[in-house]
């Protein structure tokens, strides 16, 4: 096996014994990037020179015995996390030349842990999308089938892990943007509890929904990354001062006697039959591992999409008001006065989906409509959260499909916004309620496309998710496959 194919924990074993070095691992990853990136297009900006320098420093640290949680491991970052002196675009023309003067908190944490940063990955513009097709810099392709999307909005981060173009990566999730691409690319993706990971330096889409989280090849790597990025940040006012456990302690503990809730509203017509079959198989697998599955109800599930598509655009239109051509980013030269400059800069700088959501949000918050839309949606949101509170009184985790279908073809859903929005139906409720969720691979379609299963737990129960997911992973014995991307 090539070094770029291994997990963080496997590479750490080899680094500790001296069998390999960070320089070798980083060279292996960049060799893989050189082979497949022209077909996958997972990255917007590569950080090759700084990565090689970081790898050299990591090897010195390892020689001295100063081994941090991620020393020498190549990690990629969704281009929504500010990286000091490295272009950060958010997938948008309006930030195409933005060079942040500071690192996001998660970036500081990765650096302090000794990680080697490989580059900034592709994404739907301003994280608004489920396919990565709306990126100003062009689409990313699914490593398992280059005619298909990798999911979104964190499509680049997900595809990069699946294709071996990094060992692990960070993405962000507002309505499913980690979990959905993780499922479609056959990797593990976790959205933490709201407030678990600092949003300082995360370019904001919807402030009450956004969370940063890891993409990894297995659940153990997920625990390793969560140990690094989770934690209270006094610079971020929604960061929760909750202790961070060692998430690795939850691996290999088993789930004997656990109760698993299967929400009846999530098994609807319109789920691809192969996805449904794979998820029903996971129910069988967790029962074999000693868990008991019961039916639960989340009665307001059918309203989640409508709530999300009022709340998220409303918050987004406020967050995106700062992109006005004044302080940074794209400015139109055609404005004769300030108002024209604002309008022309924003009209030319933003893509269609972003404009659509700004318009919806502005409308929903405008005078005369606020009560009917935003207030109503916020009330239904409280009921959605209550559904989960009541369900978790009866079960330890909830199990659902991650997505209704496997990866669809590039261009298939771009004509109809509502069709695209429907790919998030199983993930959206999680962000509205603020609870954590993880997607793990659970099989493949007959055509060889990955399928993901999603586990949900209560606030700050990431440990429980890791325990459940690792027990499932062990019991499932899924066949290890490699995506057939062009190149080696």
């Amino acid at each position: 096996m090539e070094l770029y194919e291994l997990t963080i924990h496997e590479l750490q074993d080899k680094l500790r014994t001296g069998e390999t070095s960070s320089a070798e691992i980083t060279a292996s990853v960049f060799g893989r990037i050189d082979a497949v990136e022209k077909d996958i297009h997972a990255y917007i900006t590569l950080m090759r020179e700084t990565a090689l320098a970081e790898a050299t420093r990591a090897d010195e640290a390892i020689r001295k015995g100063e081994i941090g949680a991620l020393t020498g491991i190549p990690i990629a970052l969704k281009d929504i996390c500010c990286t000091k002196d490295v272009r950060t675009t958010c997938g948008s023309r309006i930030l195409h030349n933005f060079i942040p003067p500071y690192d996001a908190t998660v970036v500081e944490k990765l650096r302090a842990a000794g990680a080697v940063l490989t580059g900034k990955t592709n994404m739907d513009e301003f994280a608004m999308g489920s396919s990565t097709e709306s990126s100003f810099f062009g689409a990313t392709r699914n490593p398992w089938d280059l005619t298909r999307i990798p999911g979104g909005s964190s499509g680049g981060s997900s595809a990069a892990v699946a294709a071996g173009e990094c060992i692990a990566s960070l993405g962000s999730d507002t309505g499913g943007s980690i979990r959905q691409p993780a499922a479609l690319c056959g990797v593990v993706g976790l959205k933490p509890t709201y407030g678990r990971v600092s949003r300082f330096g995360l370019i904001a889409f919807a402030s009450s929904l956004d969370q940063i989280g890891p993409f990894t090849k297995d659940v153990e790597d997920c625990a390793i990354l969560m140990n690094v990025i989770a934690g209270y940040d006094p610079r971020e006012s929604t960061s929760v001062p909750e202790d961070v456990p060692d998430y690795r302690q939850f691996l290999r503990r088993g789930i004997e006697g656990w109760t698993v809730g299967i929400p009846k509203e999530y098994f609807i017509d319109g789920i691809d039959p192969e996805v449904e079959a794979a998820v029903r198989e996971t129910i069988r697998v967790v029962e074999k591992a000693g868990a008991k599955c019961i039916e639960v109800s989340l009665p307001h599930t059918e309203y989640c999409l409508a709530v999300y598509y009022i709340v998220a655009p409303a918050e987004a239109c406020s967050n995106l008001a700062r992109y006005d051509g004044v302080k940074y980013g794209f400015r139109s030269e055609e404005g004769r006065d300030l108002m024209e400059m604002y309008k022309k800069s924003r009209a030319a700088g933003f893509g269609a989906e972003v404009k659509r959501r700004i318009m919806i949000g502005t409308y929903a918050l405008s005078s005369g409509y606020y009560d009917a839309y935003y207030k109503k949606a916020s009330q239904v949101r409280a009921l959605i959260k209550r559904d989960f509170d009541e369900a978790f009184a009866k079960c330890d985790v909830i199990l659902t499909p991650t997505t209704p279908t496997p990866a669809f073809r590039i261009g298939e859903k771009t004509g109809d916004p509502m069709q695209m929005y429907l790919s998030d139906i199983f993930t959206i409720s999680t962000n509205l309620a603020g609870i954590p969720g993880i997607s793990v691979p659970c099989g493949f379609t007959a055509a060889g496309l990955p399928i993901g299963v999603q586990f949900l737990a209560g606030h700050f129960q990431e440990g429980r998710l890791i325990q459940f997911a690792s027990a499932y992973e062990k019991e499932a014995h899924l066949e290890k496959r490699r995506p057939r991307c062009h190149g080696i």
Binding site: S237, L338, I360, L383
Partner: protein, 98 residues
């Protein structure tokens, strides 16, 4: 209630509030797509929300303050470094007042 949720006039008004502008064809397509989306939102009127407190944050935090002490902040040169145009330590923009 008629099927049209938002007219082209309202689209113009909202665009102005959002500091956006659209070409005619773009505006027609947007108006139609916005109508589809807003019609879908009507589903929410099915839900009885009498007496339900609106929830804007999943985890309620109060008063995330820090001590009133001077700590470092972004120096002016860095704050201006990405400016399309700047002058005299300020962001420069087209004329605001006639």
């Amino acid at each position: 209630m008629e099927n049209i949720k938002i007219s082209q006039n309202e689209v113009n008004h909202v665009a102005h509030l959002a500091r956006l502008e659209f070409g005619e064809q773009e505006k027609e397509k947007f108006t139609s797509q916005l109508n589809d989306i807003l019609r879908y939102m009507d589903k929410l009127s099915e839900v009885d929300t009498a007496g339900v407190e609106p929830m804007t944050h999943a985890i309620a935090q109060k008063n995330a303050f820090r001590m009133d002490e001077v700590v470092g902040s972004l120096p002016p040169e860095l704050a201006l470094a990405n400016a399309p145009e700047s002058r005299g330590g300020c962001f420069q923009v087209p004329k605001v007042i006639e």
